[in-house]
């Protein structure tokens, strides 16, 4: 009897602890999830065209663009009678949900593959899934080296660091790029993602495109090089970089907060390029549209040497049907994407450390959004 009573009390206390933790996390995500500035609210809302959009829209996909979608949703749902629920379950989950017809729109870090396009034809009656590049993100290389406030790296050095071929911070290759810095004799702790991620995919694509010799791997969402340490999610890598002396890691720029310093990249341009949203937009402008028809899949030019173009970028797509969207969700999705691609929608991105799409590309996106049916 006594034991039973004890267990029940423990359960009650445990339940209290759990609900307390839940309440705390709920607060946490509220604060970080919607960091959009209140300044542009009034102006933005007046420009949103709702048409006859209404109801509820479910969407799923890339967690890399979650903060961007949250910021859009906040503005959009204030203006229109639409409830948009973006579940950032990951690009893979988003594409699967889309090709199974569970969501009318998905977010993804990589464009649809041919077999996924084939699968989408079943959902889009008379049409197929298309990629709309909507959000850009610079991938920052953050580091934690005591006494070093400015660091310049090039792709070959980054490749060697992440492939465990350079193991000390005072290595001649790093010293050559940073003649003024006092580099300590400290072991390099290179952090990569332990989960599969579009950030890893784009980061390794950059290394393969610009330093194939020093990074002899195939690339992809899973990290392939041996050695180094790993942590889950961009936030996990950033946290490890922050608390480990000698650490270096890659993550989206928005995670480079609270004193994490980011390296500038020597691309061969006149000056080393800092990781900023403007510089990322300049690099995305070098991309070519490789999608056919209404598909706007991009091929990024990682080897760009343009001045001020930050080459380590990630473009995330919104995936919708070009034709044959479900009648009940089409107006809402169309109105939302129209807003996201609008000047106001793209302006909010920069406030959240994302890179707006360059003018030439976003114009094409706007035309395509208008033609969705």
């Amino acid at each position: 009897m006594k034991l039973q009573r004890m267990n029940r009390r423990a359960l009650a206390l445990g339940a209290l602890a759990v609900s307390g933790a839940l309440a705390l996390t709920a607060c946490g995500s509220d604060e970080t999830g919607n960091p959009s500035g209140g300044s542009s609210n009034a102006a933005a809302q007046s420009n949103i065209k709702c048409d006859d959009a209404s109801g509820q829209v479910l969407a799923d996909g890339s967690s890399a663009q979650k903060n961007a979608v949250d910021a859009w949703v906040k503005q959009f749902s204030a203006a229109c009678q639409v409830e948009i629920n973006y579940k950032a379950g990951g690009s893979g989950a988003g594409v699967t949900a889309f090709t199974q017809g569970q969501v009318p729109w998905a977010g993804s870090d990589s464009a649809l593959k041919p077999d996924e396009v084939a699968a989408s034809k079943k959902i889009c009656s008379g049409g197929q899934g298309i990629n709309l590049p909507m959000v850009g993100g610079p991938i920052a290389v953050g580091y934690n080296v005591p006494g070093v406030d400015k660091l310049v790296l090039d792709s070959a050095t980054i490749a060697k660091i992440f492939d465990s071929k350079i193991t000390k911070w005072n290595d001649p290759a790093i010293a050559k790029l940073n003649p003024d810095a006092k580099l300590p004799n400290l072991k390099i702790q290179a952090f990569h993602r332990s989960d599969e991620s579009g950030t890893t995919d784009n980061f390794t694509k950059y290394l393969i495109a610009t330093a194939k010799k020093d990074f002899p791997y195939e690339g992809g969402k899973a990290w392939q090089a041996k050695g180094g340490q790993s942590a889950p999610q961009s936030s996990g890598v950033a946290a490890q970089v922050k608390q480990t002396a000698g650490a270096i890691g890659y993550f989206e720029l928005s995670y480079a907060k609270d004193g994490i310093k980011t390296a500038a990249i020597d691309t061969g341009a006149a000056e080393p390029v800092e990781a900023t949203v403007d510089n990322a937009t300049k690099a995305i402008a070098e991309a070519k549209v490789v999608g056919t028809g209404k598909d706007l899949a991009l091929k990024l030019n990682y080897a760009t040497k343009a001045d001020g173009a930050y080459p380590m970028v990630l473009v995330t797509y919104e995936i919708v049907c070009d034709k044959g969207n479900k009648a009940e969700t089409l107006p809402a999705v169309k109105a939302f994407l129209r807003y996201a691609a609008s000047e106001d929608g793209q302006k909010i991105l920069a406030e959240n450390d994302y890179a707006p799409m360059p003018e030439e590309i976003i114009t094409k996106v706007r035309t395509t959004v208008e033609s969705l049916s």
């Binding site: 006594k2 034991l3 004890m6 267990n7 009390r9 423990a10 359960l11 206390l13 445990g14 339940a15 602890a17 759990v18 933790a21 967690s63 379950g89 990951g90 690009s91 893979g92 989950a93 594409v95 699967t96 072991k187 702790q189 952090f191 332990s194 989960d195 599969e196 991620s197 579009g198 195939e218 690339g219 992809g220 969402k221 899973a222 392939q224 041996k226 050695g227 180094g228 340490q229 790993s230 942590a231 889950p232 996990g236 946290a239 490890q240 608390q243 480990t244 000698g246």
Partner: protein
């Protein structure tokens, strides 16, 4: 006496065959028959559901393994997104087993000691609060253990790791290169803390069941308290403690979020337990699932099936050990 008399007495009348059948089935009235049907149906339904799940998982696993470019059992890599895909479970199996063994080595002696303290040494006033705190440990969600591990345990492991490296580094198993302590040993210690409550609670219950007479008899023969525990309590409770440990081991083998938060996974087997790296089945599934393609998920399901097989083997071994020690089980006391 009563029962034998009834059995020996000749039956009053010979029942008809139909009546016999009905009596054998035990269902004579409609209520009985409906209940029999419901319970039998539920039993069969359970088997069908289990078979369907097993069939589905095996089918998906076979789909994935048949396209694997590497050897599913020995490849040190997990890359399902490339063409052809390469993946193998060697590192995961090693990491799962090693981290669980570390957890057991730490948790079982401590749990047994706590259980003995609570049942035989602690003053009555202390027993309640201590048992209560242990129950509370079991109620903490694993992600909270993970966060605590990453934020508190890992930074505080450096002292222990340095000490191990200084005195036992020559073995190779405890050599340390410096850096964050996000290694198999840290995971093992965290798992030990997580499985401690369940082993302690079950062991305590078992030790409480030791017949008072055994202990009194030992005391009467002049045994000290420690000798009573050694000769009467521990042999009696051994099979119970083994069962408790297996419950704990089951939790350690399948622990997901805490491991994923604390470990720095990679696909290499490190000789040193202090090097960051390695991985476990559950951790790998948790970290790869969200971005995996359909094929990637099939591969993860295949790895999950291997974990299932390992768990079955462990449970079978535990049952075999307990069966050999039947004479000490509570039922015979």
């Amino acid at each position: 006496m009563d029962t034998t008399q009834i059995a020996d007495a000749p039956p009053p009348t010979q029942p008809t065959t139909a009546e016999q059948k009905r009596a054998a089935r035990g269902a004579t009235r409609p209520g009985d028959r409906i209940f029999l049907g419901l319970s039998r149906g539920s039993g069969i339904l359970l088997l069908v559901i289990m078979a369907a799940i097993a069939g589905f998982l095996t089918y998906r696993a076979v789909l994935a393994i048949s396209k694997d470019d590497g050897n599913f059992l020995t490849t040190f890599e997990w890359n399902t997104g490339v063409n052809p895909p390469v993946f193998g479970i060697a590192v995961l199996a090693y990491g799962t087993i090693v981290s669980s063994i570390i957890a057991m080595v730490i948790a079982v002696p401590v749990s047994v000691a706590i259980a003995l303290f609570l049942t035989h040494y602690a003053p009555r006033r202390l027993r309640g609060p201590i048992a209560y705190v242990i129950d509370l440990l079991a109620a903490v969600p694993s992600i909270v253990y993970g966060l605590w591990g990453a934020l508190v345990l890992v930074p505080h492991m450096n002292g222990l790791f340095g000490w191990l490296n200084d005195y036992l580094g020559w073995t190779g198993v405890f050599s340390w290169q410096g850096g964050a302590a996000r290694s198999m040993l840290t995971v093992g210690i965290l798992l030990a803390i997580m499985i401690l409550p369940i082993i302690t609670n079950v062991s305590r219950e078992v030790f409480r069941q030791v017949p008072q007479m055994h202990e009194e008899a030992a005391l009467a023969l002049g045994a000290t308290r420690w000798e009573v525990i050694r000769m009467a309590v521990i042999p009696f409770g051994r099979s119970g403690v083994i069962s408790a440990s297996m419950l704990g081991l089951g939790r350690a083998l399948g622990e997901t979020m805490a491991v994923a938060t604390v470990l720095s996974p990679d696909f290499l087997i490190h000789t040193s337990l202090l090097d960051p790296g390695g991985g476990t089945f559950a951790q790998n599934i948790a970290s790869k699932f969200s971005e995996a393609t359909e094929f990637g998920r099939d591969a993860l399901i295949a790895s999950g099936l291997v974990l299932f097989v390992i768990t079955l083997l462990v449970n079978g071994a535990a049952r075999a050990i307990i069966a050999r020690r039947k004479e000490y089980s509570g039922a015979n006391a």
